[in-house]
Symmetry: C2
Subunit: 225 residues, 2 copies
Amino acid sequence: MKIAVLGTGVVGKHLAAKLSRLGHEVVMGTRDPGATMTRSGSADTDDPPFSQWSLAHAEVGLATFADAAAYGEVVWNATRGWDSLPALGLAGAANLAGKVLIDTSRPLDTSAGFPPTLFVKDTDSLGEQIQRAFPEARVVKTLDTLYAHVMVNPGVLGEESTVFVAGNDPDAKATVTDLLTEFGHTDVIDLGDITAARGTEMMLPMWLRLMDALGTMAFNFKIVR
Amino acid sequence: MKIAVLGTGVVGKHLAAKLSRLGHEVVMGTRDPGATMTRSGSADTDDPPFSQWSLAHAEVGLATFADAAAYGEVVWNATRGWDSLPALGLAGAANLAGKVLIDTSRPLDTSAGFPPTLFVKDTDSLGEQIQRAFPEARVVKTLDTLYAHVMVNPGVLGEESTVFVAGNDPDAKATVTDLLTEFGHTDVIDLGDITAARGTEMMLPMWLRLMDALGTMAFNFKIVR
């Protein structure tokens, strides 16, 4: 499948590498491909400079948000939460219309330090904001409740854990569930329509507390029932 | 141990019954014991009229919030979230001073229907509000992330799941962890100080979505790591 991954950070890199390894044709989207290729990495070892990462993933393309979105049959939003609506605006409503738009963004406001807060919550969610801004896209919220490495390698935990889908379009959720299954996820719960993104996005503060308490990002929620 | 359980709803009934069965001496606290004894039950079969429940649990006492709190070495807040600060005010700061005050309340605002929202979140929590209002109490937030029946019978799920403690006093958290262990919980994560109640309380919207999606309240979160 032709998949656009918007965002070239930790989440985008993990998703693009995994999707490509699974045989999908992946083009990543960014504001300015030239700037992305010359940007230095962050302190995070999971987030090397894109140019370096790109050498090891030569089969993954890099284009503008608009060109990537035009290419993808499925578009995966892996941008930072505060940048998701602007980035998707650059991708262009016409390039998203009718397509499955997977949203893995988190509405974190890190401006006041740790712990970050959420810039939308409880009575609305970033998933809903995106669906409202792009009504012709078929938005599915997923994978916003776990770390990038675990998103695409759930087996590292050595035990089954749970991921979630929320969205208004059943067919879109089925497409996303298939991709999650390809990633190795064996327990996918359909939470209902896109308003359920309020639930998944509001797990972020707990995730951050758990990261702090456990001293690792290698964990995930499982719904025991 | 002498334990006061404040609140005579579903949560209070389950906690009091379990603690009593485990051999603790339990007095439940309410505004007006006479009114509680004559009140009819709710539609919830887990929430029979108190007079009827009381016949089957004659060893559990019923007193005013203040008398119950004065009796308890440990005080367990099982009142509804919007009523917790008023109820604890009636219990009295002097009756809470120095004691372990276990807080299982949830800051749900049900005034606008389903799904309810949270009347405090993200930058504050009900657990913190209670700790600030009663600075001499040693508040521990716990069991606000699962249904009453599963709180006291975790074995019904047939598989280990996780509960959490958050509070400023390590000894108080150890006391609570011992009680949770008596209940049958085998995985208790210490999330840190009382500000971590923001994390547990913000899981409520997800819990409600899961209840809706799964069609049951018999589930719990497990942290797979």
